[in-house]
């Protein structure tokens, strides 16, 4: 291991080496900051890099450790956060012009937990504006590029986090997932991404897109790293009424458990459409083989309402977003358009100039779906279908412990390839969206490369609060399928 470059260490290795004083937090942080300096101009995974603050934090960690105190399990280890998590005194943009100058006076729960674990914050990761997008191209701060092929998108909306982790510009990060925003970029960038059960991680201070679907989760290079990180950010928080007060199990311990006897369900609807690329299908089949070779059983299951998931999602998420984003009116914080002569003009110009195209599109869809006379036909009906989708999964989990599906229908596409056609873009989340509607947890784990060398991920889904099963199955896949872990990107 001695010849593995510092930045390629796993999160847990880095944490152990700092703890055992093999390396100081300053050296570790400095190494990653210089990697960011050399690579991020190409990748653009960060909206904000915090070199001085990170080095100061690292120095403080080293000093404390010299006196014998350790902040937590991530003492002195540099990580990044999607720019959707509020960070006290550090600009938090959510990828939007309307929050381009916003410095929150508070930390998100996730921010607080990561810092309490001892992590050093390197910066804030790029994202689709207000997490609305599947390619990180809707960011007001410009797109992020896929470290495996700079002409391609990293996925989204947590594309900055996935790219930063894949390019080893941080040891791990935390993203958010409303319809696949952690799992899809993890799949496209060849890293591990977890969307926990709704209510597992507090949403406090995480800027809302669609409140009933949003959930924070880890993005890391190994299943073990992701499992450990989820353990540190999960748990009850009384500031979020939807956060569930249930104990956080030892996720890391689950990674090594055997899969013998595990019932792996294959939802037939996920393999039927012609949108699924042959290469992705083949890679997911390899993941299945990895599981069955270790003693897992295969069962076919059906999720009959799958075909309604996308349209259900595109009513519920925009409806909630139209209300959540109404607060950005230029009155109290964030961007305010200049030159307006009256209140209405100030508000409408602020929003017209502050928001990007995709955000405006969804605000309009959502406003329409909630409007008088349309509520029952759209939002009301979508909620009913959501109940049916949830029931589909409940039935499937009677027969299976875990479901195995592709994460995304294709490997990473090219920049600009789908920006002109929102519907095609929305289809890239077709396998990830039902999980959010049902509130169940999901993980994307790398399972192969395409012919042109692009990463492909397999998605595993389990029942509510059964993240351990995901880590067990993903760990088994990771053990069998060798993986480069860090994107082959020249420094």
């Amino acid at each position: 291991m001695a010849n593995v470059p510092v930045h390629e260490w796993t999160l847990l290795e880095a944490a152990r080496k700092v703890r055992e004083k093999e390396i100081s937090s300053r050296e570790l942080t400095g190494a990653l900051l210089s990697r960011i300096e050399s690579l991020d101009p190409k990748v653009h995974a960060y909206i904000t890099v915090l070199p001085e603050a990170a080095m100061a934090q690292a120095a403080a960690c080293d000093e404390e450790q010299a006196k014998g105190t350790v902040r937590g399990p991530l003492h002195g280890v540099p990580v990044g956060l999607k720019d959707i998590f509020c960070t006290r005194g550090v600009r938090t943009t959510c990828g939007s012009g309307i929050l381009g100058n916003f410095e929150p006076p508070y930390d998100a729960c996730v921010t607080g937990k990561v810092l309490a674990a001892g992590a050093v914050l390197l910066g804030k990761h790029n994202m689709d504006e207000f997490a609305m997008g599947s390619s990180t191209e809707t960011s007001r701060f410009g797109p992020t590029r896929n470290p495996w092929d700079l002409s391609r998108i990293p996925g989204g909306s947590s594309g900055g986090t996935a790219a930063a982790v894949a390019a080893a510009m941080c040891f791990a990060g935390v993203g958010t997932d409303t319809g696949g925003s952690i799992r899809q970029p993890a799949s496209l960038c060849g890293v591990v991404g977890v969307k926990p059960t709704y209510g597992r991680v507090s949403r406090y201070g995480m800027i809302a897109f669609a409140s009933s679907l949003d959930q924070a989760g880890p993005i890391a290079r190994t299943v073990a790293d992701a499992a450990a990180l989820l353990g540190w950010i999960a748990g009850y928080d009384r500031r979020d009424s939807t956060c569930v007060d249930t104990p956080v199990p030892d996720y890391l311990a689950a990674v090594q458990r055997p899969v013998k006897g595990l019932r792996v369900g294959l939802p037939k609807e996920y393999y039927e459409g012609d949108g699924l690329s042959r290469e992705v299908r083949a890679a997911v089949e390899k993941a299945l083989k990895a599981l069955t070779d270790q003693g897992a059983a295969v069962v076919e299951v059906s999720l009959p309402h799958t075909s309604f998931a996308l349209s259900t999602y595109y009513l519920i998420a925009p409806a909630e977003a139209s209300s959540n984003l109404a607060r950005y009116d230029g009155v109290r914080y964030g961007y305010r358009a200049g030159g307006a002569t009256g209140l209405i003009e100030m508000m409408s110009r602020t929003r017209a100039e502050g928001f990007g195209e995709e955000v405006k599109r969804r605000i309009m869809i959502g406003t329409y779906a909630l409007s008088a006379g349309y509520y029952d036909a759209f939002y009301g009906k979508a909620q009913k279908v959501r109940t049916l989708i949830r029931a589909d999964f409940a039935r499937a989990f009677e027969a299976a412990d875990v479901l195995l599906t592709p994460t995304a229908p294709t490997p990473a596409f090219r920049l600009g390839e789908k920006t002109g056609d929102p519907l095609t873009m929305y289809l890239s989340d077709i396998y990830t969206i039902p999980c959010n509607l049902a509130g169940i947890p999901g993980i994307s784990v790398p399972c192969g490369l395409s012919g042109s060398g692009l990463p492909i991920g397999a998605q595993l889904l389990s029942n509510h609060f059964r993240e351990e099963t995901l880590f067990t199955a993903a760990g088994a896949i990771e053990r069998v399928l060798p993986w480069p872990r860090v994107a082959p990107l020249e420094g």
């Binding site: 959707i84 998590f85 509020c86 938090t92 959510c94 929050l99 916003f102 929150p104 006076p105 508070y106 998100a108 949403r203 406090y204 201070g205 995480m206 800027i207 809302a208 669609a210 409140s211 009933s212 009384r238 500031r239 979020d240 009424s241 939807t242 409806a319 909630e320 139209s322 209300s323 109404a326 607060r327 009116d329 009155v331 109290r332 914080y333 209140l343 508000m347 406003t367 909630l370 409007s371 008088a372 509520y375 939002y379």
Partner: protein
């Protein structure tokens, strides 16, 4: 043609919890602008509401006190609209599924008691307020004070069961008294803790269906509500009699001009795009919680009036005045417990000194002693009033002052005999005239005796002694 008015009232009562409904900020009135704010009530990105348990308890207690049915499951919804005093651009309110339904309260009317239905009770948050810099017309800027944002409110909607402005006033006063009795609202109308909007329409007497209604706002006292209703009913009747039609609209009461003025038409109303707030779980209220809170409900005004009437034998009217304020009724009962006597006298005294009762300057002992000494004839009515005033200004006990001031009066007939004999002996002519039939001279003798006793004689006893001696 005879017309009948149909009135329904919507009351917004501020719950007197210490903190706001969805955050820990103080809900107190009168702080400097934006002092009582935090990221949650100012709608910063990513923050979330957490429901105040106390606010729910207060609302449940109100539901119990108004015989409403507490719903096991109620849901908070978002009411979406843009305004600078509404930081999230939506108000969290209960909409389709409120916390309580179907109650009533009983009021007193000129024609006896009447039951007014309560449609629903729901919880919501208040908005902030805008202050316009400089004069309104030429204002250069508007300033937002968000202290009131997320202050807990309870909206109580009545059935359209009232037919006269007096009934409207009686309903409001009774509801107000109930909330204050419960301690869930301070009832202060000037500070906006208890606000009322009215829906009013008229119809030909005997007609079943309702006429077109107008919604009245901006009435900040009971009297103003009654006046506004009187005006509006008259306006609508006149309009119909002139061959016109009543338009559905919101009208503001202008207390100075004594008129209602159209504000905005219902057709132009916002589409609030209500939907369940995904940040808050449905509110589940167990029956056991309701039963626990039921035990905390104090005696309410209607029950108290009936009991005071029954227990103390005082007129219903007096009981009503006492019971309009729990503190006054309690004071009365405390006084009556110290000295029974004639409770009507005690009630009169309590009402007469009620300002001092409310300020806490007067103790029940003072009133009890004042009534007792008067009834026993130890002091005169004039002396009693003077002594209570002295208690208020010096803080000394009533009876200490009575003795210090020498204001006890002589009621002992044998002691007065001597004085009366002396006066009669000194006025033989008048005695003769009196006995000759000029009974009006009695007051002359009383005056003489009073002067001789330097005001200390009990005039009632003096009269009795005189009548006996002259008889």
């Amino acid at each position: 043609m005879a017309f009948e008015a149909v009135i329904g009232l919507e009351v917004h009562a501020q719950l007197s919890t210490r903190s706001k409904i969805f955050c820990a900020c103080s809900a107190a009135f009168g702080a400097s602008p934006n002092e009582n704010t935090c990221p949650v009530c100012t709608g910063m990105p990513g923050v979330l509401p957490v429901l105040n348990r106390r606010a729910v308890e207060y609302t449940i207690r109100t539901a119990i006190a108004t015989s409403s049915t507490v719903q096991r499951r109620s849901v908070f919804a978002r009411k979406n609209y843009f305004y600078p005093d509404l930081p999230k651009a939506y108000q969290i309110s209960q909409y389709e599924l409120p916390i309580a339904l179907g109650g009533h309260i009983d009021i007193e009317t000129g024609n006896g008691p009447k039951r007014i239905g309560i449609t629903r009770i729901h919880m919501e948050e208040d908005a902030g307020k805008l202050v316009h810099e400089g004069e309104f017309a030429g204002a250069q800027a508007s300033l937002a004070d968000l202290n009131r944002c997320s202050v807990p409110l309870m909206e109580i909607v009545s059935e359209p069961d009232m037919r006269t402005p007096e009934e409207g006033g009686a309903y409001l006063r009774r509801l107000h008294d109930i909330l204050v009795y419960l301690g869930v609202c301070d009832g202060n109308m000037e500070e906006g803790s208890f606000r009322c909007d009215a829906n009013v329409s008229v119809r030909p007497a005997g007609q079943e269906s309702f006429g077109t209604k107008a919604e009245l706002k901006n009435m900040n006292s009971f009297r103003n509500v009654e006046k506004a209703l009187e005006y509006e009913i008259r306006r609508q009747i006149e309009r119909i009699e002139d061959g016109g039609k009543v338009v559905q609209e919101t009208r503001l009461w202008d207390a100075n001009a004594g008129v209602t003025v159209a504000m905005r038409r219902k057709e132009e109303a916002h589409d609030y795009r209500y939907f369940p707030d995904p940040d808050l779980l449905p509110l589940i209220v167990d029956e056991s919680w309701v039963e626990e809170l039921r035990k905390t409900i104090p005696e309410l005004p209607a029950e108290k009036i009936a009991r005071l009437e029954r227990q103390y034998g005082i007129p219903r009217y007096d009981a009503g005045i006492l019971a309009a304020d729990r503190a006054l009724a309690d004071f009365f009962e405390a006084s009556a417990a110290i000295y029974g006597g004639n409770p009507k006298t005690t009630a009169n005294e309590c009402v007469h000194w009620k300002d001092a009762v409310f300020s806490g300057a007067l103790s029940p002992e003072t009133i009890a002693h004042a009534v007792e000494d008067r009834e026993r004839g130890t002091i005169s009515a004039t002396a009693s009033k003077k002594l209570v005033e002295l208690v208020l200004s010096t803080g000394k006990p009533f009876r200490t002052l009575r003795d210090e001031q020498g204001l006890t009066q002589v009621s002992d007939a044998s002691a007065l005999d001597v004085i009366v004999e002396k006066i009669l002996a000194a006025s033989p002519k008048e005695v003769e005239s009196y006995r000759g039939g000029k009974v009006g001279l009695l007051s002359f003798f009383v005056g003489q005796v009073m002067r001789e006793s330097r005001g200390k004689a009990n005039p009632k006893v003096v009269q009795e002694v005189l009548k006996r001696k002259l008889g």
